[in-house]
């Protein structure tokens, strides 16, 4: 309950800040950050809790996005119903891929998900009569139509994004402290021991993968309407998959705020580099990549653990000094 209350308060603060903020560019940067944080949070259900690093999560962004947009544009299916079908499609895909690949461990699983993501991308590019191929699908709208998820003010998407982020964060927290969460944690420390204790390892891993896919898909559907354009090389690209994993791990997988910190870190670097070096390409990517290297080398567990260690050191110093002065 306490956590739910904290999240509610934070949500209110962010909502008010977003509505008051005049700068549309900053609001859309914050919206992107919220979506990234949501995906990182979803990735954590499998990647963080069980330690299986997926490098194909962008397929769970792309598939529901395409399903929703195409059903809407070509068959007049309302986006909210389409979204449901899209999320189901993502879960079905996760179940198939998970059942097939989750018995593989470590780098095998990472490479298998990377390959699956690349297959999805090349299929989207290949069936261009349906998907528009490399040129993607544009969503054009001129007026507000909430039932079609079309808003002219970027703040609407901002509010949707932080609401989804809050909901997913609460949900992931619930999973973590549920029976399922403990099963997944047991699998992370040792699959053999978990299996010996009666955990149905294979089933639990597939379930975690499906949950992770469903949450990612939820973000994907709304994201594509926020961007207004289904770009296959972005939505289904390896770069997005990597970004999702990076954000979760750089933030710190053990913390509920980890992906949020990771997303803020990423978007800040991106925005600052673009502001300073705008025209000259490469700086944003270079700074981001090398700061990831620096963070991992300083503390492989991520920013949150680094902050915690600094905080502990500071409070320790403080109490020592205080005690010394007192005596």
């Amino acid at each position: 309950m306490k956590r739910a209350f904290v999240i509610l308060v934070l949500w209110c603060l962010l909502a008010v800040a977003g509505i008051l903020l005049q700068n549309n560019y900053l609001v859309s940067v914050a919206t992107s950050a919220a979506f990234l944080a949501l995906w990182g949070q979803s990735w954590n259900v499998l990647g963080g809790l069980s330690g299986n690093v997926s490098l194909g999560h962008s397929m769970f962004v792309a598939i529901p996005a395409y399903v929703t947009v195409l059903l809407f544009q070509q068959a007049d299916v309302p986006p909210l119903l389409g979204a449901l079908l899209g999320i189901l499609a993502a879960v079905a895909l996760a179940a198939v891929i998970g059942a097939a690949t989750l018995r593989l461990r470590g780098p095998y699983f990472s490479l298998a998900t990377l390959a699956a993501g690349a297959v999805v991308l090349s299929l989207i590019l290949h069936f261009d009569e349906l998907t528009g191929g490399p040129s993607g699908v544009a969503i054009s709208f001129a007026k507000d139509a909430p039932e079609k998820l079309e808003f002219t003010n970027v703040r609407a998407y901002y509010l949707i994004a932080i609401t989804l982020l809050a909901a997913v964060t609460l949900f992931v927290d619930m999973i973590k402290r549920s029976r399922l969460g403990y099963y997944i944690a047991a699998i992370k420390s040792s699959e053999e021991a978990a299996a010996a204790a009666g955990v149905r390892v294979a089933w639990i891993k597939v379930l975690a993968f499906c949950l992770s896919a469903a949450l990612t898909a939820l973000g994907g559907v709304f994201y594509v309407f926020f961007i207004g354009f289904a770009d296959p090389n972005f939505l289904a690209g390896l770069a997005l998959s990597i970004k999702i994993a990076l954000i979760a791990v750089v933030g710190g997988t053990g913390f509920l705020v980890g992906p949020i910190i990771g997303a803020i870190f990423y978007e800040t670097i991106d925005a600052v580099a673009n502001a300073y070096f705008g025209a000259v390409g490469g700086w944003d990517v270079m700074i981001l990549g090398f700061s990831v290297v620096a963070i991992v080398m300083t503390d492989p567990r991520g920013i949150c653990f680094m902050a915690e260690r600094l905080w502990q050191a500071a409070t320790h110093q403080f109490t020592r000094r205080f005690a010394a002065g007192d005596a």
Binding site: V53, L104, L111, I242, G282, M286, V292, V296, P300, R301
Partner: protein, 297 residues
């Protein structure tokens, strides 16, 4: 052209491009076999090798068909030194980290180096005019492109040397021992960290060599490595992670597969086809096609 001609030509093209994949994959698999580390930045070392080779070729370009190949050995040596530095600065410490931080570290490095190349050299496609580009030999009705053929021949040569070195040299025996069990190897007096460093230097040197062999007939740009390294990843899993000889077969197999799909189905699907083959192998034979049981290297 007859049906048979198309088929033969596709297989020849596939084998020749497979040679580059093999050279990239050999180093990747050496590092995985010895250090149990998948180097996601391997493609960026290929890219770096190509830029180094281009700069060297810019310094001097001897005449003659094979003149440009003088850069191969210097590039390989420069990249080997960079590989050793890569080990000492990053991997030595990262060896103690868990798996996901290691994946993250090499991915971060790969992104950072790509950005660095773009900042330093821009994102346009670079090449150096030379007689190899477009040169082809005709054997009956089959074309052999000279550039890829040279890469292929070098890849085969390197594989033979590596296979011999792993079997017979002192380093090779140590590397195999470390791959089998670090603890036992260290008990026997093998300096595992030295083996790691030399393996990384060899792996990065070989990918640099692959880069130098590519520049006569392939454009250089900051994310050129991605195209090759992903296929190399798949090649080493298909062949069996850790098996150096397998990596070469895997690379050639994927090259042929890609070329056949491009010839008979569609160029777009040539990538999908190798991924599907990869997923099929993972499901049916996760230990890889060319490994017996648990043996590595």
């Amino acid at each position: 052209m007859t049906v048979l001609n198309v088929l033969t030509q596709a297989i020849v093209n596939g084998l020749l491009i497979g040679g580059v994949y093999a050279l990239v994959a050999v180093g990747l698999n050496l590092m995985f076999g010895v250090m149990k580390l998948v180097n996601f930045a391997h493609g960026e070392f290929l890219m770096a090798g190509m830029y180094v080779a281009l700069s060297l070729a810019g310094l001097a370009l001897p005449p003659g068909l094979l003149g440009i190949y003088w850069v191969a050995v210097p590039t390989m040596l420069i990249m080997a030194v960079i590989g050793a530095a890569f080990y000492l600065l990053l991997l030595d410490r990262a060896a103690r980290f868990g798996e996901s931080p290691q994946i993250l570290l090499t991915i971060g490095l790969s992104i950072g180096v790509q950005g660095f190349a773009q900042v330093l050299r821009g994102s346009d496609f670079k090449s150096v005019p030379n007689p190899i580009n477009g040169a082809a030999l005709h054997l009956g009705r089959i074309y052999f492109q000279v550039g890829p053929a040279i890469s292929f021949a070098v890849a085969i040569g390197v594989t033979i040397i590596m296979a011999w070195a792993l079997r017979s040299t002192r380093f090779g025996k140590s590397a195999r021992a470390v791959a089998e069990s670090v603890e036992t190897a260290e008990m026997l007096g093998i300096d595992a960290r030295r083996v790691y460093m030399v393996s990384t230097a060899i792996a990065i040197g070989l990918v640099g060599l692959a880069g130098a062999l590519l520049i006569p007939y392939h454009f250089t740009f900051p994310n050129v490595g991605q195209n090759f390294v992903v296929v190399a990843f798949l090649a080493i899993v298909i062949a069996g992670l850790g098996s150096v000889l397998g990596a070469v077969f895997g690379g050639l197999l994927l090259g042929v597969m890609q070329s056949l799909t491009a010839a008979y189905l569609d160029l777009d699907l040539s990538t999908a086809a190798i991924y599907v083959l990869f997923l099929a192998v993972l499901l049916l034979r996760p230990q890889g096609l060319f490994t017996k049981g648990q043996r590595t290297l």
